[in-house]
Each structure stands twice: as structure tokens, then as C-alpha cells.
């Protein structure tokens, strides 16, 4: 797994590539906790190059989503590959997490106007 951080329209986007599993999820969790501690309350995670996710990855996403919600913030996921998206759907995460097709869509949704 690799994480690249970038800013666009003053929104932080984390591009997560590779495999997000019980071996690698701690690294993403630390990164996300750091972002929240730094005061980010709008975040986009770009999964375009994510080829694999397990429940360990879902755990980190749910934890982050809960924290963002408490801070009245917003977390958007985008650009998931089909199999990754299926994992989110089976787990019912698509019911409370916005998942957009592209990172531009995510930016529009998070930064209206």
C-alpha cells in the first residue's frame, strides 16, 4: 500500500494505492488520525489505484467516518474499482458514506459553490 497526499481547492485528497489489509491498515489509520488532529474536517480518499481491501481496511474507514461525523465534517470516497466497491456494498457502507465515480465529483460534492 502507498499513500500520497495532495491538496486541491484547499481540500486534502489521500490517494491510496495497492492493498489495504490487516498488514497495511495501521499505516492508513495513522495518516487519517493525523489529518483529523491537524484539523481537517473535509477529506477525500481516492481509491483509483486500490486493488484490494479487506475488513481491516473497512474498519479504518468506518472509524474515520465516525470521527468526521462527530466533528460535523465530511468524508468522501471516490474512484473505486468494481471489486473494491462490492466489498463496501456487502458491508452496507454505501448507505452512509458518499462514494463518487471520480475525484472531481468528490470535489464538487465536498466544496459546493
Amino acid at each position: 500500500m502507498e499513500i500520497t497526499e495532495k491538496k486541491q481547492d484547499s481540500i486534502t485528497i489521500l490517494q491510496v494505492s495497492g492493498r489495504l489489509d490487516s498488514r497495511t491498515s495501521t499505516e492508513l489509520e495513522e495518516k487519517l488520525n493525523q489529518a483529523i488532529t491537524d484539523g481537517e474536517n473535509r477529506l477525500i480518499i481516492d481509491f483509483e489505484d486500490l486493488s484490494y481491501i479487506s475488513s481491516a481496511g473497512l474498519r479504518v474507514i468506518l472509524k474515520t467516518a465516525k470521527m468526521m461525523k462527530k466533528n460535523d465534517g465530511m468524508l468522501i470516497l471516490c474512484a473505486m474499482q468494481d471489486y473494491v466497491r462490492e466489498v463496501f456494498e456487502i458491508s452496507g457502507f454505501d448507505a452512509f458514506l458518499p462514494i463518487t465515480t471520480t475525484s472531481d465529483d468528490a470535489l464538487c460534492q465536498i466544496n459546493p459553490g
Binding site: Y52, L62, K66
Partner: protein, 137 residues
Amino acid sequence: MKKKIAFSLQNNLDELETLRHKVEQYGVTNGLPDKTVFELNLILDELFTNIVTCGYRDRNVHWVNITISIEKNLLAICVEDDGTPFNPVAVKEPDVGCSIEKRQIGGLGIHLIRHMTDSISYRRLEDRNVITMTKIL
């Protein structure tokens, strides 16, 4: 065609890389669709991760045995470990339909396995957990 493979992993999460390679190799050898390879990897990952993180009470090295085979249109998967007795079939389904506030962190591993297989059975044989699953191709 090599329709059956058997391999063993140590109780260490780094072995997930070995698992991945074994599964991908098996997929190529037997011409499995990418989606099946993905799901097969996920099923085995979830079980293996649980065994490594919850199964042992000592600090010794243990081996988890995995076999995968194809019989007609059925993929058969077997995972065997010498950890504490644990029957995944008996685990209650998590509530996956509630609001984010109520949503519990955890319990998704076995849920995913149930969705990605067509049968799961559990036996305790001597001091080993044996989980057998099938998946229609």
C-alpha cells in the same frame, strides 16, 4: 492443469503476501476470472487474519494449512489451524443496515466470507479447527 494446491502459512500477518501470490498463481494456472481471484483472496485473508490475531494464546510459531481445489464448477477451500476452538458458522450476523452512529466497528470479516461463499462448514478435529467452504464458479 494443477487443479489442487496445498500450502502452509506461519501465524504472522506478513504471510498475507505469500497468500496473495499463491492465490494469484492458482488463478492464472486455472484460468479463474479476476473477480473470483479477488474473492478467494479475501475469504482466505479474513480467516487467516482472524486466526493470527485471535487464535493463539502463546507466542509460538504455528502453521495454518490451506488447500484449494476445483471439482467441476465448484471451488473447494479448506483452512485448518491448531488455535483455540472457534466456530465461525455460529457467529451472529452484524447489523449492516443501521445509521453510521449505531454502526459497530468490527464483525465484518465473517460477514464478507458468508457473502462470497456458497457453503461453509466447521469441524473440530482433535485439536484443530477445520473450515471447509465451497464457491460456485
